[in-house]
């Protein structure tokens, strides 16, 4: 993945860490490097910039994370049918620039890339989480506030993560990505404890909205290689965008996926309709005024987000689930950030409890 970094800021305490050495070794000579005691100020937006979010993506801060690394997925809770996902924050923001990405709003006040150099503390938190879970299987992902693999050529963190998780009995690591950056992963044996998942969209969405990401075919090809290397693999059709030709294109995408990868080798497929808060929608449309995917038939839904009106969204999601099940009836599917009613309508059965679904997703 090509970065457009101009500046790297490193907190002094990590000046001689192995992570810092790897990052510095991978940077182009044109990137300036500076050391500071506290990197937080360097994560802030540039108020003079025409597009502070994009400008933030030219700055990388290697810093201490000052809050917990591991927590329950913020999309969980009573509002939506929940999959029991645990998130591990090792980085913040993403070098890709998808027009619909929630990070445009979520990290608007600190848009610089952050990589947390004290990441080994996450392993202690995971050990505590395992003890609290009393033998229940948990799925822990690094792809909530950053793409899991976008930085991996630079940081090499995947090697340490896979090593840690390969020694766990009840924890499954999920790398979630839109890249095909899998070279590090191919060097190590995950011993069944690592799953790599790809967000997949039809080519039309990729071309219009998923800037700097790998093409869908490259993502599928990377998935196949990792599957053959012993990784569990999964896919997220998320966001599903209900543009005029969406049904045709998403079905063709699934056909392409199943033609490349045996559906029996896929751990699960999640689906979720496009959703945007009013603030995110405003930001996204200002940054990407020519993206037709942002001008769909979304209306303000009861949860305060813009979503495709219900009959269209439900019908499209149900059609995709039927298509998946026609290829493999027991392939695990679930909806992300949709109500329990929508889950039942689309999946044909009441939504499972978060803990139950979470354990199924984690244990395969």
């Amino acid at each position: 993945m090509n970065f457009e970094l101009e500046r790297v800021v490193i907190e002094q305490e990590f000046r001689s860490s192995a992570l810092t050495r790897r990052v510095l070794a991978g940077l182009p000579a044109s990137v300036t490097v500076e050391y500071v005691d506290d990197g937080r100020a360097a994560t802030r937006p540039d108020p003079q910039a025409a597009d502070p979010f994009a400008t933030g993506k030219r700055r990388l801060v290697l810093m201490r994370r000052r809050s917990p690394f591991v927590m329950a997925c913020p999309a969980g809770g009573g509002e939506f049918a929940c999959c029991g996902y645990q998130v591990m924050a090792l980085a913040s923001n993403c070098p890709m620039d998808c027009s619909y990405c929630f990070l445009q709003e979520y990290v608007a006040n600190n848009p610089a890339f952050q990589i947390y150099a004290n990441y080994t503390q996450a392993f202690d938190e995971l050990a505590a989480l395992t003890r609290r879970a009393s033998g229940n299987h948990l799925r822990v992902g690094t792809g909530e506030w950053a793409d899991s693999l976008a930085w991996d050529k630079l940081t090499g963190l995947s090697l340490e993560l896979v090593d840690f998780f390969s020694r766990q009995q009840t924890l499954l690591l999920e790398f979630k990505t839109k890249t095909d950056e899998i070279e590090n992963l191919l060097r190590i044996d995950p011993k069944g404890q690592v799953l790599v998942s790809w967000s997949l969209s039809p080519a039309a969405v990729y071309r219009a909205s998923e800037h700097r990401s790998a093409p869908p075919a490259a993502r599928i090809a990377a998935a196949r290689r990792l599957c053959e290397a012993g990784y569990r693999i999964a896919f997220h059709l998320d966001p599903v965008i209900a543009y005029e030709q969406a049904q045709r294109d998403y079905l063709a995408l699934l056909d392409e996926l199943f033609a490349t990868i045996d559906p029996r080798r896929i751990a699960f497929i999640s689906l979720g309709g496009l959703r945007m808060t009013p603030a995110l929608r405003t930001i996204a449309r200002r940054r990407f005024p020519a993206d037709p995917m942002l001008a769909g038939e979304e209306v303000l839904a009861p949860d305060g987000r813009y979503r495709t009106f219900v009959p269209l969204r439900a019908a499209l999601l149900a059609t995709l689930v039927q298509h998946i099940r026609a290829r493999r009836a027991d392939l695990l599917t679930y909806l992300c950030m949709e109500s329990a009613t929508m889950s039942e309508r689309v999946l044909g059965a009441p939504a499972a409890r978060a803990a139950t679904l979470g354990a199924r997703l984690a244990s395969g």
Partner: protein, 181 residues
């Protein structure tokens, strides 16, 4: 647009007089000159109030983006030209124009709402029973309201609902995406 004294100047003057917010003016001025002037002509022809003009700018821009064309091309569509040139008061023509723009902006939502509204009209229910589709079909909840004034009326309303239960269930299923109508 590059002439402060030409088209741009005229539009800026209009925007100043009508308190058009800067972001909307920016979008307006970003159009081709002919398209921008066509919007101005629309505003004059229909006597658009500020809120209506802002809605028109947004709807026209979105329709053009969705159709892969320009705002001027959208405005030249025969049905919109006909609305512009129709008889009637300017406020009623402005309302009709904006309503049609909204339908063009959300074509499948419009079609679905028309189908569901037609299906709802076919369901015979007594006075005091109201069935309301969700606003913008943004939820899958069908609101059914009973307003009985006497116990006997309440019984009649319940009975009527029971008689129409299958039709109402079809409506609820259609709201949830099934191809009922």
């Amino acid at each position: 647009m590059n002439s402060e004294s030409g088209a741009e100047g005229v539009i800026r003057a209009y925007a100043r007089d009508h308190h058009i917010p800067a972001p909307a003016l920016e979008r307006w001025l970003a159009m081709d000159e002919a398209d921008a002037l066509a919007v101005l002509e629309l505003a004059h022809a229909l006597g658009l109030r500020t809120g209506q003009l802002l809605a028109a700018l947004e709807l026209l821009g979105d329709i053009a983006l969705r159709q892969g064309t320009g705002v001027g091309a959208v405005m030249r569509q025969p049905e919109l030209r006909a609305l512009l040139e129709a008889s009637g008061s300017r406020p009623s023509r402005a309302s009709a124009y904006l309503l049609r723009l909204t339908e063009l902006r959300y074509p499948r939502l419009h079609q679905m709402r028309e189908r569901l509204t037609a299906a709802l009209k076919q369901i015979k229910l007594p006075r005091g029973v109201t069935v309301v589709l969700p606003h913008d079909l943004s939820s899958d909840e069908l609101l059914i309201r009973l307003s009985p004034r006497t116990p006997a009326e309440f019984d009649r309303q319940l009975e009527a609902l029971r008689e129409q239960a299958n039709e109402l269930k079809r409506l609820i299923a259609a709201l949830g995406g099934s191809d009922e109508f």
